[in-house]
């Protein structure tokens, strides 16, 4: 078993073990062990990657190839570059933190953790695949458990949200399938063999008309998952209804599939399409950035605020991807990671606050700094990270994006960049609004006086997420170097 496929097989073994588990305790322990192993594997992967990279200069390392359907040339092909490794580490950390945060799930715990782990397996599979079809299959595997997780363990109008989320994502995957098939049927190289393999497709130049036709299809297909305006509406409702760990996983990891797919599939394989449609999607991305931020200002539900904030932050990822230069791309990947950790942390904290006060309405909360200082202080830190304070990951990512965006001296890009940059002010407004209303001030509800601060497992989950945020913010160079290195083939093909 190669080092990458383990990321898919370990969850499967965890699942099998879970089937035989009895009672909450065993379920927890098994999930924790399974996800813990993955976490260790992810950390190990980073070192292994650097070691491999030193001797191997291929685009993808650790590649493995198994034929799946011979007739259609479908393979199970895995491989990793720096971006993949970074995404896997993100996933491993968020999933492990998710397990800690859901420590107290009492309602059907076994089924809950099973769904969670299937979801994680799908995400891992997506990131490691370099075969379009396998990638698509894993994408579907990741999306389906979402429906169950929200529909069964959610809160509020959960059936509606689950339905909406699943249908929109399914619609997106229908588009995606069309796009992938479009790429497949135009992928014949000199030997005339059609292929799904990304690396092989990247060697041929797809017919320019086909590129222009399929680029928007693939882009929107992934864009829906990446909460691209105007296809973002599943995200606020979905997040609001989802249980904590699912929100974390979803916003933290699943939404990253969108940006990753756009970069790896749409833009990498269809560069001419990207050049043709770039400005159109830049407009959408910019609208998403500013629109998400402004919509967040008016929300009173914590999860909605965070969901709209995700729309804004991920809009920035799309924006950066379309800026077509190394700095911005680097920033886009960093922003994906940074947003993954930050938003997962946010949802974890919101879950804790909700679990204690039984409300997410900020107008009913107040003075929490006094009663639950630990959670509140971390919330402030997460907020500051989210508004791009230096020393945290968000700043590094945003600055790279802005710097990249300002490399285009024409008026269109300048205006788009300036609008995007101005979102940092709006972000400050909605973050401080929450901090001011919910954490500062006086306690509005007498019952809140007796709240208990974070428990050990909650603290573990929090620190798991907080450490990378601070680490990335303090010493961004090694990560950005790792990503920059992996951007070389993209630059070679697209610029």
């Amino acid at each position: 078993m190669d080092i990458l496929s383990l990321f898919v097989t370990v969850p499967i073994f965890t699942l099998i073990a879970l089937l035989f588990a009895k009672g909450l305790k065993q379920v927890r322990i098994i999930s924790l062990i399974g996800m813990g192993i993955q976490f260790v594997m992810a950390i190990n992967l980073v070192f292994a990657y650097f070691k491999e990279r030193a001797i191997n200069s291929d685009i993808m390392v650790f590649t493995q190839d198994y034929t799946w359907f011979k007739n259609f040339n479908i393979h199970y092909t895995v491989g990793a570059d720096g971006i993949t490794v970074a995404m896997i580490v993100l996933t491993a950390i968020v999933v492990l933190a998710g397990v800690f945060i859901s420590w107290k799930t009492e309602d059907l715990p076994k089924e809950f953790f099973i769904s969670l782990i299937v979801l994680a397996a799908g995400v891992y599979g997506f990131f490691i695949s370099i075969d379009l079809f396998t990638m698509f299959v894993f994408y579907e595997i990741a999306v389906i458990p979402m429906f169950l997780l929200i529909g069964i363990w959610g809160t509020g109008p959960k059936e509606y949200s689950a339905m909406k989320l699943t249908l929109m994502l399914m619609g997106a995957s229908a588009l995606l399938l069309v796009g992938i098939l479009g790429i497949y049927f135009n992928s014949a190289g000199a030997d005339g063999v059609l292929t799904y393999n990304i690396l092989d497709i990247a060697k041929v130049t797809i017919d320019s008309d086909a590129q222009k036709l399929f680029f928007p299809i693939v882009f929107i297909g992934f864009g829906v998952l990446g909460a691209m305006f105007p296809f973002h509406t599943w995200s606020p409702d979905g997040h609001a209804s989802a249980p904590t760990a699912v929100s974390m996983l979803h916003a933290g990891v699943l939404m990253k599939l969108g940006g990753y797919g756009i970069f790896r599939v749409a833009m990498y394989l269809l560069p001419e399409g990207a050049a043709e449609w770039g400005n159109f999607f830049i407009v959408l991305a910019v609208i998403g950035v500013i629109y998400g931020a402004l919509a967040a200002v008016r929300q009173t539900d914590l999860k909605y605020i965070n969901a709209y904030s995700s729309v804004s932050h991920l809009g920035m990822v799309l924006f950066a991807l379309l800026m077509m230069n190394k700095t911005a791309w680097n920033g886009a990947i960093m922003q994906s990671l940074s947003h993954g950790f930050m938003t997962a942390l946010f949802f974890a904290l919101i879950g804790m606050i909700y679990g204690r006060t039984h409300t997410r309405d900020i107008t009913k909360l107040g003075g929490l700094l006094k009663v639950i200082p630990f959670i509140s202080v971390i919330y402030v830190i997460a907020g500051l990270a989210s508004l791009g304070l230096p020393g945290f990951s968000g700043f590094v990512a945003e600055m790279q994006i802005f710097q990249g965006a300002f490399q285009h001296p024409d008026t269109f890009h300048r205006i788009a960049s300036i609008i995007t940059v101005s979102a940092i002010v709006v972000t400050a407004v909605y973050i401080l609004r929450v901090v001011g209303i919910m954490l500062m001030g006086t306690i509005k509800n007498e019952e809140h006086l007796s709240l208990k601060d974070a428990t050990w497992y909650e603290k573990t989950g929090i620190f798991l997420l907080l450490i990378p945020i601070i680490g990335m913010g303090m010493a961004p160079l090694w990560l950005s170097d790792m990503i920059t290195e992996s951007l070389a083939p993209f630059i070679h093909r697209m610029l």
Partner: protein, 638 residues
């Protein structure tokens, strides 16, 4: 000369912050105060040592003070040429700022041990103070624009945390938010300015930017946009960032409200150090402003400075909260510094404005820090901020009284006190450049003398008020910093600044033009005399004058409704007219479209599900019908 030890100067407060921040529940209050003061004291000693080394021991190299990189490392890469460095730049103004920041921070730390005694968040307070000191020192020592921006944001957030220190008080929360958001808004322009500059010059580094013969600068002055060169644009944008931090009109609205924070914080952040960051920024980039620009950006700096100075002085006349008077006075004095920078030349004696600005920054830090600390001492004693609750305190708070008087004389520009020297140089520089600005400056000097003595007489003379507690002089930890600052408020005037700190770093012989000085002194004395007549004893003159000005007084008292204007823009326009419709649009239109698609599917299916009747006969009928249709199609159409 090896300056590598200077890295300790910002690092010590940072370590203190980590210790106090992480251990805030375990460390005993007094110990926290001690740790904070000790680390800042060490930083102060190191700063003084650095100044000694830099100015005295090494001195000029080839006729100018060198700009030395004590330490430099790449922190983040953008493009092959653009990268963010973290480093320490030692040059005249950074060394001067080091002394200002560490000295005031140290004294404020000591002072706070007495002032904050018994407060629940004692340890946290010291942690924040250390965080602020670290950020401010990082800002001062920055080697490049982006490093300045990074620490710029960090001082912003420390300021937010400290203003909102009493976080259960609604007014403090609002003030903290306001301070952060307004400065953040200004930072937006700053950031755009940096990014533009970075794109065209290909560097953020000060040494590369400010080397006058830089070919890159010449290259990008030729790029124009809307009739102005890009450099002017980006310099104005950067100045807007500085104006936000330095509370220049119209971005000043956060400063008066920031007085909600504990008074030592106001002394440190909102009087002596953070608010002058804007001035420091312009001074840092002064070569670029002067050399590469066609003069427009500096004109903007000068006029904004002069206007803010006048505007704030007028408002200060009418305010009754002593901290607010001081806040407006700060704004006014910073306007002065900006004015001085704006009218300055570059080489030799032409750079008088630059030197005067830096000098005023230095002396202002001393006497304004002192004024705030003294005000804190008064507030601590009488438990009120309002002028009407004070009177005849000179006997009860003797040390505070004397030190306050010294600071007041210094700010009013009375000879032999530090403010006189620096202000005189500013007026001189303005006179050389533009007579109109000179008269504005002179008028403001008179107003300053008047409102400061209004404060002085109001607090220490006049009628005795009844106080809730027995008023007594504060403990030593509070009075000793006052005395040190009082000494500095006098002594700072006798430092030969022009020898050390000039735009071209070469220094020149400064002298006092007594003709000019006489006019300034006369104006100040006039202001003081008026204040004496009005406020020494309780008279009805103030009321009469107030009535005479009528509506104008009311405007000034309400701060020319700037707050209301901002409220209108944010609440009415941005929140109600933009943000709310966006939220509505999202709920109704976008969500509505998605729901519509879903609902249409459901409805359509509802309509056509009748075809699935379950009757075999129906199905057969459709089957036959289908065959017929297909046959027809095949026969007649194809």
């Amino acid at each position: 000369m090896d300056y590598s030890y200077t890295i300790l100067i910002p690092l010590l407060p940072f370590i203190t912050f980590l210790i106090l921040g992480l251990g805030s529940f375990k460390i005993k209050p007094n110990l926290a105060g001690l740790i904070g003061s000790a680390s800042l004291g060490t930083s102060l000693i190191l700063s003084l040592y650095t100044a000694y080394n830099y100015f005295i021991k090494v001195g000029k190299v080839d006729g100018a003070y060198e700009a030395v990189y004590a330490f430099k490392t790449t922190w983040m890469n953008f493009t092959p040429t653009l990268h963010i460095d973290m480093g320490i730049l030692i040059d005249p103004i950074s060394v001067m700022m080091l002394i200002v920041v560490t000295l005031i921070a140290f004294l404020v730390n000591v002072y706070s041990i007495g002032y904050m005694k018994g407060d629940t968040g004692f340890t946290k307070f010291f942690a924040f103070l250390s965080l602020f000191s670290f950020s401010m020192l990082g800002l001062v020592l920055a080697t490049n624009l982006f490093q300045i921006y990074i620490f710029w944001e960090l001082v912003g957030v420390s300021s937010f945390l400290l203003i909102g220190f009493y976080y259960t008080k609604p007014s403090a929360i609002i003030a903290a938010k306001k301070a952060f958001i307004v400065t953040r808004f200004a930072d937006l322009f700053f950031l755009i300015g940096i990014l533009l500059m970075g794109y065209y010059t290909g560097t953020f580094d000060f040494a590369e930017l400010t080397s006058a013969d830089s070919s890159q600068l010449a290259e990008w002055t030729s790029v124009t946009f809307m009739g102005m060169s890009i450099i002017t644009f980006s310099l104005i944008l950067i100045f807007i960032g500085g104006a936000g931090k330095s509370a220049m009109f119209p971005l000043h609205i956060w400063l008066p409200d920031a007085m909600e924070g504990p008074t030592p914080v106001s002394a440190l952040i909102h009087a002596a150090t953070m608010v002058v960051a804007g001035v420091y920024l312009v001074a840092r980039l002064f070569n670029v402003y002067y050399v590469a620009d066609d003069g427009l950006a500096l004109e903007v700096v000068a006029y904004v400075g002069a206007f803010s100075s006048l505007f704030a002085a007028i408002i200060a006349l009418t305010q009754n909260d002593i901290k607010r008077v001081l806040a407006f006075s700060t704004m006014s004095q910073i306007g002065y510094m900006m004015l001085a920078l704006g009218v300055s030349g570059y080489e030799g004696h032409d750079g008088l404005g630059y030197m005067a600005s830096m000098w005023h920054l230095f002396t202002h830090a001393m006497f304004k820090g002192l004024l705030f600390l003294a005000a804190g001492s008064i507030i601590h004693a009488v438990h009120s901020n309002m002028l009407k609750d004070m009177g005849s305190l000179r006997k009860k708070l003797p040390i505070t009284h004397i030190t306050f008087l010294i600071a007041t004389l210094a700010i009013a520009g009375i000879p032999f006190f530090s403010g006189f020297f620096s202000k005189d140089e500013i007026l001189l520089a303005a006179h050389h450049h533009n007579k109109f600005l000179y008269f504005v400056g002179l008028f403001v000097a008179g107003l300053t003398a008047f409102y400061m003595f209004r404060l002085y007489f109001g607090i220490f003379w006049g009628k005795e008020k009844t106080y809730s507690d027995k008023v007594h002089e504060n403990p030593k930890s509070m009075t000793i910093p006052l005395m040190i600052l009082a000494f500095m408020s006098i002594a700072a005037g006798y430092i030969p600044f022009s020898k050390y700190i000039t735009a071209d770093r070469q220094g020149f012989e400064g002298h006092i033009d007594w003709n000019m000085a006489a006019i300034a002194i006369a104006t100040a004395v006039l202001g003081i005399a008026l204040a004496y007549v009005f406020y020494k004893k309780e008279t009805n003159y103030p009321e009469k004058v107030t009535k005479a000005f009528g509506i104008f007084y009311k405007w000034a008292y309400d701060k020319f409704y700037m707050d209301e204007l901002y409220f209108f823009i944010t609440r009415q326009i941005i929140f109600k007219r933009i943000s709310a419709p966006f939220a509505w649009f999202d709920k109704k239109i976008i969500d509505g479209t998605m729901d519509l698609i879903g609902n249409t599917t459901v409805k359509t299916s509802e309509k056509i599900k009748g075809t699935q009747s379950g009757r075999v006969q129906d199905y057969a009928m459709y089957f036959i019908g289908g065959i017929v249709v297909i046959t027809m199609v095949v026969k007649y159409i194809m």
